[in-house]
């Protein structure tokens, strides 16, 4: 237990601290911009980012991942804040925390895995579109100077990193253009026009809402949407961080951690938050790997606000708009166009439907739910559970696999095997099954290697020629030096 703490907190101190600082610097404009999208005071997003980042550092399940105020969550809050005010938002945040903890306890994270790829791609694209659309009122038709500042921000943000990577480009844009705006006296809208920046730490208070069933009725649908979207984005981000670092996080622990963090944050004046793809990628790329990076990011963010709060109010909105446009471009999945050409038509329909419904309703959760239902309808024909019958005969054990083996049945397939068997002759019979995809090949590999590790003699029977070809080409179990992960 102690070694794990040492490993998750102290194995990468320098990298974590530096990465945490970079993240905090990049996070300030985003937290402010997302607060503005939600229609709340910039402090709501900043307090949220501070609380979430710090709490998740301790209770999260995916070290190295950064959680803070996000666009996906902010977009869901718009009607709630507009119709009922920020206190209801805080109450919804607390309820979101509760729901997320419940989801985590009930291991709902596993169900999230079955959200089809087409829906996730649709989610990400719709999010990018909505973030862009939210910027429009802040820069279209205001003044020429606004367009100029937006253009310069974009120029800085895309060109500078090619030559100079030590300081995040959005921060450079922020500093340079805020200074320009202050000294030149151009007439530009600033952050201060939309809200005040308090240079104080967050304080505990109960949201000012009546403790009635009516309040619950109002906040529950929002809390549910926030829970779904928050967990979805967090689990997607966790998979990305898993892949980038080559390690595996604990998804259910992360769900519970998100819940705890949101629950507490609601009491400190912060809006519901979740993991951020962009910042997590920046964190890992900057060398962050452990929990310390999230803690440093949150603390440093708060420190900067306290120290530099006065300047933050003078940031021109145009700069934030430019940064948000960059975020939107970075969030959009540009390989979707290639995907649309190559993926099965039903998947493409699901993806487009998800995007259209989200953009039409301005609600990510509705799009996801619609996409999932649509996908299930398409998928029902294909899905069948995989069965593995075990038969122990005189000198050998025969595993008879029935049903298609593909990404959705891979887990069930692997679980059917008793890996404690030793020194046995084992036959895996694939006569009544079909190998559908690379996941299946990977799974068969895994099973064969694990059984072989215990000196079992494993043979495969009954593969149809197509499946046999796939296995022969790609599986590594026949390599005596093969280990389960190829690295």
């Amino acid at each position: 237990m102690l070694t794990s703490i040492k490993e998750q907190w102290f194995s990468n101190v320098r990298g974590d601290i530096l990465a945490g600082i970079v993240v905090a610097l990049a996070l300030i404009p985003e937290a402010i911009a997302f607060s503005i999208i939600a229609g709340v005071d910039p402090m709501v997003g900043l307090y949220a980012s501070f609380c979430i980042a710090v709490i998740i550092a301790f209770v999260g399940g995916r070290p190295g991942m950064i959680s803070a105020a996000t666009g996906a969550m902010a977009l869901l809050m718009v009607p709630l804040v507009r119709d009922h005010g920020v206190n209801y938002l805080l109450a919804a945040t607390i309820l979101t925390g509760v729901l997320q903890i419940i989801f985590g306890i009930f291991k709902v994270a596993r169900i999230m895995k079955f959200i089809p790829r087409a829906v996730m791609i649709g989610f990400v694209n719709a999010l990018a579109i909505l973030i862009f659309m939210a910027q429009v009122p802040h820069f279209i038709g205001i003044s020429t100077m606004t367009y100029i500042f937006v253009a310069i921000t974009l120029a800085i943000v895309y060109i500078v990193p090619r030559f100079f990577k030590a300081i995040p480009a959005p921060l450079i844009a922020l500093v340079v253009l805020t200074a320009t705006a202050i000294f030149s006296g151009f007439d530009l809208r600033t952050v201060g026009d939309l809200g005040a920046i308090q240079r104080t730490l967050p304080s505990f208070f109960l949201p000012d809402v009546p403790f009635t069933f009516e309040t619950l009725q109002i906040i529950f649908p929002y809390a549910l949407a926030l829970t779904i979207v928050g967990l979805l984005e967090s689990l997607l981000t966790a998979s990305i961080v898993d892949d980038m670092t080559g390690t595996e996080g604990d998804k259910n622990k992360e769900a519970r951690g998100q819940g705890i963090a949101n629950f507490i944050t609601g009491f400190f004046g912060g809006m519901a938050s979740c993991a951020m793809i962009g910042q997590s990628v920046i964190n890992v790329k900057s060398g962050g790997r452990g929990r310390l990076s999230s803690l440093v990011a949150g603390v440093f963010l708060m420190f900067l606000i306290i120290v530099l709060g006065n300047v933050v109010v003078q940031i021109p909105m145009a700069v934030l708009v430019g940064i948000m446009i960059m975020v939107s471009i970075g969030t959009f999945d540009w390989s979707s166009f290639k995907y649309m050409k190559n993926a099965p038509k039903t998947d493409v329909v699901v993806m487009l439907a998800t995007v259209i419904i989200v953009v039409a309703t301005h609600d990510l959760s509705k799009g996801v739910l619609a996409g999932v239902v649509l996908s299930a309808l398409f998928f029902v024909a294909k899905v069948s559970t995989i069965k593995v019958e075990t038969r122990v005969e005189s000198s050998l054990t025969r595993f008879h696999v029935k049903g298609p083996l593909f990404f959705a049945s891979v887990d069930g397939f692997i679980k059917h095997f008793d890996f404690s068997k030793q020194n046995e002759k084992i036959i895996i019979d694939f006569t009544d099954t079909q190998i559908w995809d690379d996941s299946a090949v990977g799974a068969i590999d895994k099973v064969m290697i694990k059984l072989a590790e215990n000196q079992n003699d494993v043979t495969i029977h009954g593969l149809n020629p197509a499946s046999k070809r796939l296995i022969d080409k790609l599986a590594i179990h026949n390599d005596p030096n093969a280990k389960l992960s190829a690295h």
Binding site: K113, R117, V124, M244, F407, S439, V441, G442, N481, H487
Partner: protein, 138 residues
């Protein structure tokens, strides 16, 4: 000749040519050939989003190396495979410098000087920073 050659590949045609040169160097000797491939971090987001799960993604990455592995196998050359993660240039450089390799073989993308300035070059970074001889295959 060489004791341990690292063949840095990305699955492209240049990697195939680099493999051919490696075969020429190694055939008939007892040189250890290590195929090194770096999964570009920056592409992680797209790859995870488009993959159907972790298993499929790993197999997909190995698939890229298939033609290279096949060519080494048909020549009867023993090799092992190392999959790294991170930024391609620096990750290869770090790995090579920490290993006992005495030669790195890498393909060049053939970028012109403008492209090199805009896009950077993995082979360029390897050439500059690796601490052993490099064979750059065009």
């Amino acid at each position: 000749m060489y004791k341990h050659i690292i063949l840095a590949v990305d699955g492209s045609d240049h990697s195939i040519r680099a493999t051919d040169e490696t075969i020429k160097l190694v055939k008939g000797t007892k040189t250890i050939v290590e195929i090194v491939h770096v999964s570009d971090f920056s592409k992680s987001k797209d790859e995870v989003l488009h993959a159907e799960g972790q298993e499929a993604l790993e197999v997909k990455r190995r698939k890229k190396l298939l033609p290279i592995e096949e060519s080494l196998e048909t020549q009867g050359i023993a090799y092992n495979v190392k999959l790294l993660r991170g930024e391609p240039g620096p990750a290869i450089v770090e790995y090579v410098n920490e290993s006992q390799a005495d030669l790195v073989v890498v393909g060049s993308r053939g970028l012109n000087s403008l492209q090199e300035m805009m896009l950077g070059s993995v082979s360029h970074k390897i050439m500059k920073r690796v601490e052993c001889p490099v064979l750059l295959v065009k």
